[in-house]
Each structure stands twice: as C-alpha cells, then as structure tokens.
C-alpha cells in the first residue's frame, strides 16, 4: 500500500506563498500529474513530497506513514529529475545500480534488477558507457531506469521530458506509459505540458498560484473545467470564453436558446471548446467574424471574434472559410461550460 496523502501543505519563501494549503490524495498505483504554468508551485510540492524541501506547515503521508522530517532516503521513493541528474563519473550500469547499492543489495540482485530496468528502457547496449557519451534521450532513459531499478513504492518525476526535442518527447511519452503501466507504481508527474499530462495520467491536478484548481481525469478536466484558468490552460486552442447577457434565465445564440444556470445573474460566461461547433447558415448560426483562417491540414483553425470577444474555433479541413469572412456557428449544447463572470468558477452542469 503506497497511497500518498498531501494534507494542507503550505510553503512560503519569505513573504511569497508558493503553496497555499494544498491537499491531494493519490491512490495506490495511480498516475497523477501536477500540471500548471511555471511558478505555480508544482515542483515545490513534488520536492516537499521527496523531502528535498521542507514544508512550512502541513503533512505528507506515504502509505499512511507521515514522512515529514524524514530524510529523502527513508521515504521509500525514487525520482526522475528534470536535468536527469545522471552521475557523470559512473557508468550507466553503476548509475542504474546506484539505489540498489545504497540498499546494500547483493550483486546477483543488483545485476538482475539493472538488467531488467535496462531492458525495459532499451539501454542494455550502453551499460558500460559513461553518460557524457550519451544523447539527451539516452540519458533520460538511464534516469528512468535508475528510478525503476529500485522498484520504488512511489515514483516522482519532475518535468522529465522537458529537455528533449519534440519528436523524442512524443516517443518517450509513449514508452513511459508502456513501462509504467506494467510497473504499477504510484507515480506523481510534474509537467507544464498539458498533452503530456493528458496522455499519461489517470488523474490530473491542475495548479495555479500555489492552489490546486481542479483534480480529475483528463477527459473530465478537459470537458468540465472547474475554473476559467483550467479551461484556458488545457486544450489547444484554449477554451473560448464569451460573456453573454442572460434574459429570463435564457441565453440566446443565433437562433438557439440555452438555459442559463439558475445561479447566474445578468451576465454569464459561455465556455466553449474550439471544436464543439459546426458551420451553420446565418442568421440561424451564431455570428463569428473571421480575422484569420489557417488551414492546418488535419483541420481548419479560425481566429476571430464573437460578440466582439476574441475566439478560436476548429472546423473540419473540408470547409472553405477565408480570412475576412463572416460565418455562422452552431454550438454543441452538451459541451458548453457556464462560468461566473465574477469568480471565474464554473457552475454545476444544467440539464440542456
């Protein structure tokens, strides 16, 4: 059993509050991403779990045992660092074996575990080389193998793919998923890249300004963002936010009417995923002025405005829309999120 309970963790650096009472529970064997822009506190939280940073207050429990005050080595975890932190003065073999050697494992076990981890990451042929003879991607594999070799209860990963080029990142992402699925280790994965978080995670915790804004499955977080920040941070293009008037509990968009959430006042923010629309003739459709049309091959990306507010929408590549056109859009009523214009928080879903 190695679930992780993060209980009201606070961390301040002088007057700056990096983490404001963050609580989060990660189940045994679960893969959870901490996702957010730089400076949101995700790495600080990870380092507090690892024991590399000390929390100002709060508790961290790994497998129901409080680890606050324990040095990193006694927390039963492994970590993959952003810059790999592969020891340059040791061979790849010794790097992968490092954790086992520290546990005073016998040579036979070390050999077996190193070979197993090296096999998983396809680095068998580099075992007797030194890391400075390896490429970034290969070093990354060594760092992951080193972490897996100790069969940790908990695996922490701090932006492990951010230093790789785009193609390699995609390849490593797929491979990580394969490897980690078979290992079944409780994993916390810090990233600022939403596609990584979406692709790898069982659940995502979106962080912003030292607060967890939403925790949920990738699909849940994508379709039902709890806040305007989450909707804007996840998805490419980001979710569109259009402020619209409410009259008699109804919102009018072209020829269609939507039931506004009952908590809403005179105005409400309509959160709309760029791909949750289809072309409709005017005046039935909602009017959009297209400023720039970019054919992307797989789809057509339109940038423009609705109600004089900036939006980005995606249409099938087969549609022909040109820059400067005015078009009508039909909204997918099941994929609309309603948000409060004041708090930026989303309202509970209303029956369509």
């Amino acid at each position: 059993m190695a679930n992780i309970v993060i209980d009201r963790i606070r961390k301040s650096f002088g007057s700056f509050e990096a983490l404001k009472e963050v609580s989060l529970t990660i189940n045994d064997g679960e893969f959870v991403s901490l996702l957010g822009p730089s400076g949101c506190g995700k790495t600080t939280l990870l380092r507090i779990i690892a024991g590399l940073e000390t929390a100002t207050s709060g508790d961290v429990r790994i497998g129901d045992r409080s680890v606050i005050g324990l040095p990193p080595k006694d927390r039963g975890l492994a970590m993959v660092f952003q810059n790999y932190a592969v020891f340059p003065h040791m061979t790849v073999y010794e790097n992968v074996a490092f954790g086992l050697r520290m546990q005073k494992a016998d040579d036979a076990r070390v050999k077996a575990q190193v070979e197993k981890a090296a096999g998983l990451l396809h680095i068998e042929q580099y075992l007797d080389r030194y890391p400075n003879k390896l490429s970034g991607g290969q070093r990354q594999r060594v760092a992951v193998a080193r972490a897996l070799a100790v069969e940790p209860k908990v695996l922490l990963m701090d932006e492990p793919l951010s230093n790789l080029d785009a193609l390699l990142r995609l390849e490593m992402r797929t491979e990580l998923k394969t490897v980690l699925q078979s290992a079944g280790t409780t994993t916390i994965y810090v990233t600022h890249d939403q596609t990584e978080a979406m692709g790898l995670s069982d659940r995502i915790a979106v962080m912003h300004n030292g607060v967890v804004e939403q925790v949920g499955t990738p699909v849940d977080v994508y379709n039902h963002p709890a806040t305007r920040f989450v909707g804007g941070f996840i998805g490419n293009p980001p979710m569109n936010f259009i402020k619209v008037p409410v009259s008699n509990g109804q919102v009018v968009a072209g020829a269609e009417q939507f039931v506004a959430p009952k908590e809403a006042g005179g105005e409400v923010v309509l959160g709309l995923r760029g791909e949750a629309v289809e072309l409709a003739p005017l005046p039935q459709g909602l009017e959009m002025k297209v400023r720039v049309a970019e054919p992307m091959g797989s789809h057509l990306l339109l940038t423009g405005s609705i109600h004089d507010q900036p939006v980005r929408v995606i249409l099938p590549a087969s549609e022909t829309v040109r820059s400067g056109d005015t078009i009508g859009l039909k909204l997918d009523r099941n994929r609309i999120t309603w948000l409060s214009p004041e708090s930026g928080k989303s309202y509970p879903a209303v029956a369509a």
Binding site: T54, A55, T56, S57, G69
Partner: protein, 300 residues
C-alpha cells in the same frame, strides 16, 4: 569556540520558529574558516593598529612621528606611489592587448595562454633575480647595447646614482611578473562576453576601436575592477623585487617596515608603516569601487 548546538540555538532565536531542522549545517561549515580568519586576520589587524598607535602600553603617536621623521620615509612613500602609477596601467594595457590578440587565434591558443601565465607562478624575489641577470653590469642589456655600439663600456643601472634607471628596471621587472594575473582575470572576463554583442555592433557599422571601447570594455568592468584592486594592493606591497635589484638604494614602504622590524627591532614603527600601507590599500580599493561602477543590471 561555541559548539554546533550553541549555534543551532542561536540561529533558532535568529529565525524564530524553525521548520528546516538543518539550518545549522552551513554555520558548522564556515565556522572553522571564520575562527581561523578571526584569529589570524582580525586579531593581528587590531594588534597592528595598536602597535602603531601605542608606546609602552599607552596610546601615543610616537611611532607615527618616528616614521614621518625618518630620512627614508618621504622617498619610500614617493617611490611606492610612483611605482604603482607606472606599473599598474601598463599591466592593464598589456593584459588587454594580450586578451585581444589571443581572441583572434584558433589553434595554439592554449599554448600561448600558458606561456603568458608562467609569471603567475614566479615570486617577486625570483623576478628580481631574473632581471638582475639582465640589468647587472656584465648583464645582457649592457652586452646588447655594447654590441650595437650604443655604449662603450659596462654601465651601471642599479645604483643610487642612477635613480631613474633603477626605477625603470624595477618597474619593468614588476610589469614582467605582474601582468600575468591581470591577463588571466581579463581573459576570464572576456570569455564571458558573448561574441554576438561584438558581431551585432559590427553589423551596425562599429569599427574595431569603437567595438572595443563601446562594447568590450564596458562589459568586462567587473573583471577590470577586480584586476585593478588586486594588482594595486599588490603593487603597494612591492618589496622583494626592489630588494633584489637595488638593495636599499630604492626605499619602498614595505621594505622600510621590514628594516624597522628585522634590523632595528622596532616593532612600533614597523607597525606604523603597516598601518600606512593598509590605509593606502583600502583607500585605493574604495576609489576603484567608486570609480568603476559595476551595475549588475547593465551586464549580460
């Protein structure tokens, strides 16, 4: 010496409630060096000042008066200053030339830099002896001048009757020895200036001199500042090279301190000289810090 626990408690009080239980580590690590410097830097510093300003255990200006009234005092002050003024700028210029030249070289750069840094390992006493072999009566300078027909017999350069020649000889020996350290600091500084800055200036039409004075020089200010401070303080300490070349024909401040201490056994006057040298060195440092402003916001 307070133990780690005392320091731990001290830092606890200093920082209020502690969350990180390992804040005493850095204090433990710097403690030995602090204790050492306190015992062998701060204490002797205070002792020197006391030595200089006391007589038979009472505060007194007697040592200062003895120093100021000594026959060699004014010449030694004058000589030390003249040497510093003559030597330091030349060293900086040669070092800048070396840095600029070596930047234009690809292959062989390492070897050239190594040759230029050799004097870094040479003491001022050895430098004095090296130049003695050149400047003495039957030395290589006279041989050269003789074979060129410029002199008819061996000429003395290092006596008290030839103060200008002696001064030049000492200055040359100091320049020869002390340029290496300036060069190393300046080349280290130049290495940190990205090539793009100069290339950008070149594209916008700046010639080599403009590039040097408008781009390079301002960007190596920190290196220049530290080289100047280090070299000037060392120049005020000049002693052995003078002694090796001219004996006591060319009094300088540290030489006088040495004489009062070892020959005259008068520690008080030696202390007075020491205080004077320290005051001059500190003043020079302050002048450099003020004159060459290093604004971190204007550096890359």
């Amino acid at each position: 010496m307070p133990g780690p626990h005392a320091i731990l408690n001290y830092t606890r009080r200093l920082r209020g409630p502690m969350t990180n239980n390992r804040t005493w580590i850095p204090y433990l690590l710097i403690l030995p060096s602090v204790a050492f410097l306190a015992l062998l830097f701060v204490v002797p510093l205070v002792q020197t000042i006391w030595l200089a300003f006391s007589d038979n255990g009472l505060p007194s200006l007697a040592n200062m008066r003895t120093m100021a009234g000594d026959l060699n005092f004014l010449p030694s002050v004058r000589n030390t200053f003249l040497l510093t003024i003559a030597v330091v700028p030349v060293q900086v210029v040669i070092a800048l030339v070396m840095g600029t030249l070596v930047a234009k070289v690809g292959a062989g750069r390492e070897t050239i830099l190594w040759i230029w840094t050799i004097p870094l390992g040479i003491s001022d006493l050895a430098a004095g002896m090296v130049w003695l072999s050149i400047l003495q009566n039957t030395g290589y300078l006279n041989s050269l001048l003789f074979s060129l027909g410029l002199i008819e017999r061996q000429t003395s350069w290092l006596t008290y009757q030839t103060p200008v020649a002696l001064f030049i000889g000492i200055a040359v020996a100091e320049i020869w020895r002390g340029t290496a350290i300036v060069m190393v600091i300046i080349v280290a500084g130049l290495n940190q200036v990205p090539k793009e800055f100069k290339e950008a200036a070149e594209i916008f039409g700046a010639g080599p001199w403009t590039r040097f004075f408008r781009i390079t020089l301002p960007l190596i200010r920190p290196a220049l500042q530290s080289a100047l401070i280090l070299r000037t303080v060392l120049a005020f300490e000049v002693f052995a090279v003078v002694y090796a070349l001219g004996g006591r024909n060319f009094p300088v401040l540290v030489g006088e301190a040495y004489t009062w201490q070892n020959q005259n056994q008068n520690y008080g006057v030696a202390g007075a000289y020491a205080v004077l040298i320290m005051v001059i060195s500190l003043a020079a440092t302050v002048v450099y810090l003020k004159a060459i402003k290093v604004d971190p916001e204007r550096l890359p």
